[in-house]
């Protein structure tokens, strides 16, 4: 594992709860790890498993989805729909060899700034133990077995141009 590994956690926060909780954590000057990159969505129900996989594929070491507590969704039940997808997605991701700890879903209400702080710190620590996922690097490494230089003149030109 590289030294000073700073995990990259892509986070999807629902506008009404977790995003607001993160704002509250800010207003309350609660310090937490600078590892998250937040995408604001109106409701956790907007989170498409494609987003999660895309994040991993583009270098996220972890993905955190934050929504309202069950029963509290601003849109009544978007979080339940997320939960259903999440339960399945977690299995899928695990089957594809990504440690399930790298994909986390948390219900954090607007008043739970402290909880947000705790979750981010905890997840950061967990991922630090797991080490980087580095899918883009792995993709590149996997593709070193391709034989561009020998077979593909065009590609060779492109490759040497880089």
């Amino acid at each position: 594992m590289p030294e000073n590994f700073e995990p990259k956690i892509l986070a999807f926060f629902c506008n009404w709860c977790t995003y607001t909780a993160a704002d509250l954590a800010g207003v309350s000057r609660m310090k937490y790890e600078p590892t998250t990159r937040v995408v604001r969505v109106m409701c956790s129900g907007r989170v498409d498993p494609q987003f999660v996989l895309d994040a991993f594929a583009h270098g996220a070491d972890g993905v955190l989805i934050g929504g309202c507590h069950p029963g509290d969704c601003h849109y009544v039940e978007g979080n339940y729909k997320l939960l259903r997808r999440f339960r399945m997605l977690r299995r899928l991701v695990a089957s594809l060899g990504i440690e399930p700890e790298r994909l986390r879903m948390e219900w954090i209400s607007a008043s739970e700034g402290e909880r947000l702080q705790k979750v981010v710190n905890e997840m950061t620590a967990q991922i630090k133990l797991l080490g980087p996922l580095e899918l883009p690097e792995r993709f590149r490494e996997w593709d070193t077995e391709l034989h561009e230089e020998t077979f593909d003149k065009e590609r060779e030109v492109v490759a040497s141009g880089q």
Binding site: P34, T36, R37, V76, S111
Partner: protein, 668 residues
């Protein structure tokens, strides 16, 4: 409509990036110049600059000028939370002549400088976030806000002093008001008090005129003994269902003569009188108190012999010469449409049983403050005589402050009114009994107009003040003077030793709590609670009566403990906010709704069951899904689920989010 063409891919994307120092709030932790320099190198960025206070008029003007000067068609501001200033900067973007939705905001203060310490890492994060926004904003489209008319009526839930004041304010401004109160009468807690601090004016004298005004106001529909069971719709256009519980009285016939009560077969009360804090009994047919509004009796189905299937001659019914009593009454439902909602459901006093060491329920003469409010009231259970359970007058009284408040075992918050009402009760008890009064306090908190003066007056009146949290109340004497009395054991933190004060009566200044059903109510009205359970205002300073649901406002103690002056002020503010909404006459709907692109929709029906607002229907002829933009609230659930990618959510389009994700993850 010119700006509609911008961003449709036909012209070059020209982005302006503005990063705010926010004084030192951001610049203290994030190297804003470095972020601006970095962003300047990103594709499509035409101008990138930093500014001390971007939200100031000068800051906004800079954005407007740069839009014109550099022919910008996208604007990204990195500053505080979009929940705070997105509107401000959208407006500035619009002033620059481009559609306001070509704007995106990056939250580097709340999510950045305020929560991180390492300057390099915080700066790195800010760069990443900025890059995500730059990538996303390229895909923004011009959007129009839809306007919907606002219904000229308001629903007020809860008829305490907060609800009463809000209802009257709205009604006097000419709006139609529906006031829904759960109990048979309005008045709330205030109606139970004899006097109010600090002026000691009689509660009834100031409250009853307002109550009767509510009862007779032409613009107010008062539904007592009722509850809101369902609310649907959106700001300006809420559809509300109100359940009216049967009171077994025909309201239009009852004139409040109370003959029925006199003629009830029970000659004295047979059930606890809740209004008197169960210190007396009432009959099954009753009116909570003499000045109740509406002045209508109610029959308590739990206490009435007939309604319990027993044999009863129903003398109340025969006594009523207007034949107003109707044992067959069933609950009914009213359906109304309103433009705004004011939630004013008040508080619940802390349950003193939860502090067992204070002996409530164990020693007969330990009272809650609310019970004492009734005892000192001339219309209370004893007619204003403060007597102990054995009929004697107390010679010494201990008032314990902060019961259940400022206490890590129960509630951590200060209930704000207990010090003041304890002083009030100390005064009244002294007046009524001439007893020695001991106040046991942690701190005396008197922040209010005339409050500190009131405290001084109480000291001058010869009340004792002992600083220290009471350990317990015991009846085990160790000296003869304690014999047969309760002993308050307290560590006097000023004197520095433990004291034992024998008293005949203990008053527990119980704190204020959220109502038991607060979380149910919160869900019904789609608002949030803060961690202790009171309803959450949109912003603690700048939007203290708004909630996260547009058109739903808060008034009174349901939002947090407060006294009557603050409650009334807040109710006025909630009424004013509602009036703004109604008087503007229309609401602008956020355009982040979803729509189906027909040619991609296979009609697979995946989306149909997902919409909580039934906004999605199926066009059977075309075999496609259709989203009603008026009903769609823009959660995006169907968008994520559509397996064809046929649904797009404005401002949260797949391509926008993918771009954001992918760029957030490239390390600058």
């Amino acid at each position: 409509m010119d700006d509609k063409t911008i961003g449709n891919g036909s012209e070059e994307v020209r982005i302006g990036f503005f990063i705010c120092h926010c004084g030192s709030n951001i610049a203290g932790t994030i190297d804003v110049e470095a972020v601006a320099d970095y962003v300047r190198t990103l594709p499509n960025v035409v101008v990138s600059s930093d500014y001390k206070y971007t939200c100031s008029v000068a800051g906004q003007d800079m954005i407007v000028e740069d839009i014109l000067k550099y022919k910008l068609n996208r604007v990204v501001v990195a500053a505080c939370s979009p929940l705070l200033h997105e509107k401000t900067f959208r407006a500035a973007t619009q002033r620059g002549g481009i559609n306001p939705f070509f704007f995106h905001m990056v939250n580097i203060r709340e999510h950045g400088s305020w929560v991180h310490q390492d300057r390099a890492l915080a700066t790195q994060k800010a760069m990443d976030m900025a890059r995500g926004a730059i990538a996303r904003v390229k895909f923004h489209k011009a959007l129009e806000k839809r306007r919907e008319p606002v219904r000229q009526s308001v629903l007020v839930v809860g008829g305490g002093i907060a609800g009463i004041h809000a209802a009257l304010t709205m009604a006097n401004a000419g709006k139609k008001v529906y006031l829904v109160e759960r109990e048979p009468t309005i008045g709330g807690h205030m109606a139970m008090f004899d006097k109010t601090f600090p002026t000691l004016d009689c509660a009834a004298c100031i409250l009853t005129p307002k109550m009767s005004e509510v009862g007779s106001h032409p613009n107010i529909v008062l539904w007592s003994y009722s509850e809101v069971t369902e609310i649907k719709g959106y700001v300006g256009n809420y559809d509300v269902t109100v359940k009216r519980k049967p009171r077994y009285i025909k309201e239009d016939l009852c004139v409040g003569c109370l003959d029925c009560i006199d003629h009830c077969v029970f000659k004295t009360g047979n059930t606890d009188d809740e209004f008197n804090q169960n210190l007396s009994k009432r009959k099954p047919v009753y009116i909570p108190f003499a000045q109740a509004v509406p002045r209508l009796v109610a029959i308590d189905p739990a206490a009435c012999t007939h309604l319990n299937g027993g044999k009863c001659e129903q003398s109340c019914a025969t006594a009523c010469d207007r034949q107003a009593i109707d044992f067959e009454q069933k609950e009914t439902f009213e359906h109304i449409g309103v433009g705004a909602v004011i939630v004013a459901t008040g508080f619940k006093p802390f349950d003193a049983h939860r502090k067992p060491l204070y002996g409530y329920g164990r020693f007969p003469d330990v009272y809650t403050a609310l019970e004492v409010e009734r005892l000192v009231c001339s219309s209370g259970p004893t007619g204003g005589d403060v007597v102990l359970k054995d009929g004697s007058k107390p010679k010494s009284v201990g008032i314990i402050h902060c019961v259940g408040s400022r206490d890590h075992q129960t509630n951590r918050w200060c209930s704000r009114v207990c010090c003041m009402y304890s002083l009030k009760l100390a005064h009244l008890l002294k007046e009524h009994t001439d007893a020695e009064i001991y106040n046991f306090y942690i701190d005396i908190r008197t922040p209010g107009k005339g409050y500190e003066e009131f405290y001084e007056r109480l000291q001058e009146e010869g009340n004792h003040f002992i600083r220290g949290r009471v350990g317990d109340i015991t009846d085990v004497p160790i000296i003869p003077e304690e014999e047969g009395r309760m002993i308050v054991r307290v560590e006097d933190s000023l004197a520095g030793f433990v004291r034992r004060i024998p008293v005949d009566m203990v008053v527990l200044a119980t704190g204020l709590e959220p109502r038991e059903d607060a979380s149910e109510i919160r869900r019904r009205f789609n608002i949030s609670c803060s961690s202790e359970g009171f309803f959450l205002e949109r912003h603690p300073k700048l939007a203290p009566v708004s909630t996260t649901t547009d058109g739903v406002f808060l008034a009174g103690c349901c939002q947090g403990p407060k006294d009557i002056p603050d409650t009334v002020a807040q109710a006025g503010a909630a009424a004013a906010e509602s009036l703004v909404l109604l008087d503007v006459g229309y609401v602008e709907m956020e355009p982040m709704t979803a729509f189906v692109t027909e040619k991609y929709c296979s009609g697979c029906k995946t989306c149909l069951p997902l919409c909580p607002f039934s906004a999605i229907s199926r066009d059977e002829e075309k075999g496609v899904a259709v989203i009603n933009p008026v009903l769609c609230k823009g959660c995006g659930t169907c968008v994520a689920a559509c397996p064809s990618g046929a649904i797009t959510q404005n401002l949260f389009e797949d391509r926008q989010i993918f771009a954001e994700i992918e760029e957030l993850l490239v390390h600058a």
